[in-house]
Amino acid sequence: MLTEVHVPDDVDAAVRLVSSGARALGGGTSLMPWLNDYASPPTELVSLRRAGLARIDVAGEAVTIGAATTLAQVEQDERLEILNPVVRSIASVPVRNLATVGGNLFARQPHGDLAVALVALDARVTLVGADGSRELPAGDDLPPFIVTRVAFALPAAGTFRYVKAARRRWNSASIVTVAAVVTESDGVVTAARVALGGVGPRVVRAHAVEAALVGGPLTEQAIGVAAEAGRSELAPADDAYASAWYRARVFPVHLRRALLGR
């Protein structure tokens, strides 16, 4: 049962409240459905809406996104064109106007597609707790501190790939999400960072796929080999959208479609 809703004007106040047991609330799109219709222990919320965390800074290649920035803000920011297909693949317009970048890091799979992209982009997450701030790579388990921002470097043009296979064109959770940054030189993959959604309880950083891709050409056959190598990294589950079997079965297809565009 909700007992209090705090709306602090700065991060320090928010941190103090969270340290004393309150729960941070971004856009509310994960927490509020639960609080609206289900019994809950006495809960205080700390809304980050006014804490000054909703801004996007782009300086050269360096991107910093405040944690309370909404997905809609990301969608509408022309400097973040590479993330446009990512956020538009998430939920719907009236949800994206609430849901935040920080909140997406905590979304349970098969949601959280922006988090998948941020892992591929090697983003760093800044958190603040009572004992100061710290930085963690996106994809790591996040302690229940307040996320203040995520930062990453814009990848070279044409190197970022993203495919979200879902049951519907718009507004559906993921079956398989593939986000990757693949660098090629002279027809050979020189670096690859591949993150997967929908295929495990958390975002999967597909190390085995990356290892299989690097050093060879980006061909259908090579990707097939990489997908086979990546199978062991998947831990898909049955849910209302698709079975574990189906997710694993179509993973190679969507990996190829993400990396080759066909």
């Binding site: 049962m1 909700l2 219709d37 289900y38 019994a39």
Partner: protein, 462 residues
């Protein structure tokens, strides 16, 4: 501009007549549209009361279990909780909605007594000042169970080894002494013996939710004269009133139902699920009480369209005539009958589909399992049967190497044909809709098929 489909007046010209109407046949604007677009249409929940109380349910987490004890003391201590209701507060706890038309037995309980037979079955209702307090109270009800084996498959439920889950002693509805609603027409075995080919396949479906955008609910308002005014989104005002009066043991004249504006029904608001408890709560608290399903309750606890399993065996001649059809149909009624016995009968009357087949045999079973009770939904009894029948028609046509529309036209029912439930067909038009659909997609039909007509007796020259 409205989207209007053309009416092809070249069909049934004589029967259509001049059609010289003033407003009939005209695209008259919808009388409710202005209210819809301005937000002024009043749905049942669009009213406020200063002292409104809220009702929430504690439900079974088990498919099948004995209830050993129910402890509501902690729920009553939640601030804002006004009352808890158990089966002892329901004057006529055993009921069946079809008793209004004389169909029994009363097989369902409003609130569980000594057992639960599906996951989500209501056990205790909690009435509170606020929705949050009612949710909190419902979560604090403590029930201890002895879990029993569950039956979740219709054919397993019919087997003699299955645990019997129903008080009446059978896991199926009994139709005047029979284990199924029967259709017996001609001699189906003779038909198979005569046939050039026999085909048999199985079809099935999973349960489907009505998913109206507005969930099932009501607000019951005690009136100054002691009557109860029920603001409801029921699909059937008097059906709800009469069933509610029987359950709460009040004179029907004590109740008034107001509604008529519903945010989607599709058959999901025909069961009488919320009004009786809200009436009891309003009476005991003397306050207006709202009982509205959460979206999860609507999705998982309100009755779905029944899952069905259908076996169709056809005897077919080389020329495409179906001479025998045998159908074994199982409706998964879930834990309680509700409207499912009626749906299985509706299925029986629909068989063998819109085709004239001289030998038909069907058993339509209404089977109980330990899942959410199914009930009415848009076309129930027919929708899934049509999926099975029309898939079968496609498969048989392909097996015979016949054009799928010609195969249907050969067997299409016509005026004067006797249906399997022994009602003479009249006003038929299957042939014409097939002919017109073929034309719509440029699917050529030979002249003799284009010349067929529903009003020309079978075998006669067109």
């Amino acid at each position: 501009m409205p989207r209007v489909n053309p009416i092809d007046s070249s069909f049934f010209k004589d029967e259509r007549g001049p059609g010289d109407f003033t407003v009939i046949g005209k695209t008259v604007p919808r009388s409710d549209a202005l209210g819809h677009v301005t937000g002024r249409t009043q749905f049942f929940e669009d009213r406020t009361f200063p002292d409104l109380a809220h009702l929430k349910i504690h439900r079974s987490p088990h498919h099948h279990a004995l209830i050993d004890s129910v402890d509501t003391s902690e729920a009553l201590r939640v601030p804002g909780v006004l009352r808890v209701l158990t089966h002892e507060d329901v004057p006529a706890n055993w009921y069946g909605v079809l008793r209004l038309i004389g169909i029994g037995p009363d097989d369902e309980v409003v609130l569980a007594e000594d057992r639960v037979i599906y996951r989500g079955e209501p056990i205790v209702a909690v009435v509170a000042d606020s929705e949050a307090a009612a949710l909190e109270g419902a979560s604090k009800v403590k029930v201890s169970y002895t879990v029993l084996p569950a039956v979740l498959d219709v054919e397993e439920a019919m087997s003699p080894d299955a645990p019997v889950i129903k008080k009446a002693g059978t896991n199926y509805f009994v139709y005047e002494g029979h284990h199924a609603r029967r259709i017996r027409f001609g001699d189906v075995e003779a038909g198979f013996a005569q046939a050039d080919h026999v085909f048999e396949w199985r079809y099935s479906s999973a349960p489907i939710e009505h998913a109206p955008t507005e969930t099932t609910g009501c607000i019951v308002e005690p009136k100054p004269d002691g009557r109860l005014l029920i603001h409801s989104n029921t699909q059937a005002a008097f059906f709800t009133l009469d069933n509610t009066a029987l359950i709460i043991n009040r004179a029907p004249t004590d109740l008034q139902v107001k509604g008529g504006t519903v945010g989607g029904g599709f058959g999901g608001k025909v069961d009488v699920m919320v009004e009786p408890l809200a009436c009891i709560a309003a009476t005991l608290t003397n306050r207006p009480v709202k009982f509205v399903y959460t979206r999860e309750e609507e999705m998982q606890v309100s009755s779905p369209r029944a899952a069905e399993r259908i076996y169709i065996k056809d005897g077919v001649m080389n020329d495409g005539r179906i001479v025998a059809r045998k159908i074994m149909l199982y409706v998964d009624a879930g834990a309680y009958a509700r409207h499912s016995p009626y749906g299985a009968t509706k299925a029986a009357a629909h068989l063998p589909g819109p085709y004239t087949i001289p030998n038909v045999y069907a058993d339509c079973h209404c089977v109980y399992t330990n899942r959410t009770p199914s009930s009415a939904m848009r076309g129930f009894g027919v929708t899934i049967a049509d999926f099975a029948i029309e898939s079968q028609m496609d498969r048989v046509a392909r097996a015979l190497g016949m054009d799928p529309l010609q195969f249907r036209l050969v067997n299409a029912y016509r005026d004067g044909d006797m249906k399997a439930h022994r009602k003479e067909a009249s006003g038929t038009a299957l042939i014409e809709v097939i002919q017109r659909a073929a034309a719509l997609v440029g699917h050529d039909l030979p002249a003799e098929y284009q010349a067929m007509s529903s009003s020309t007796p079978r075998g006669a020259i067109a």
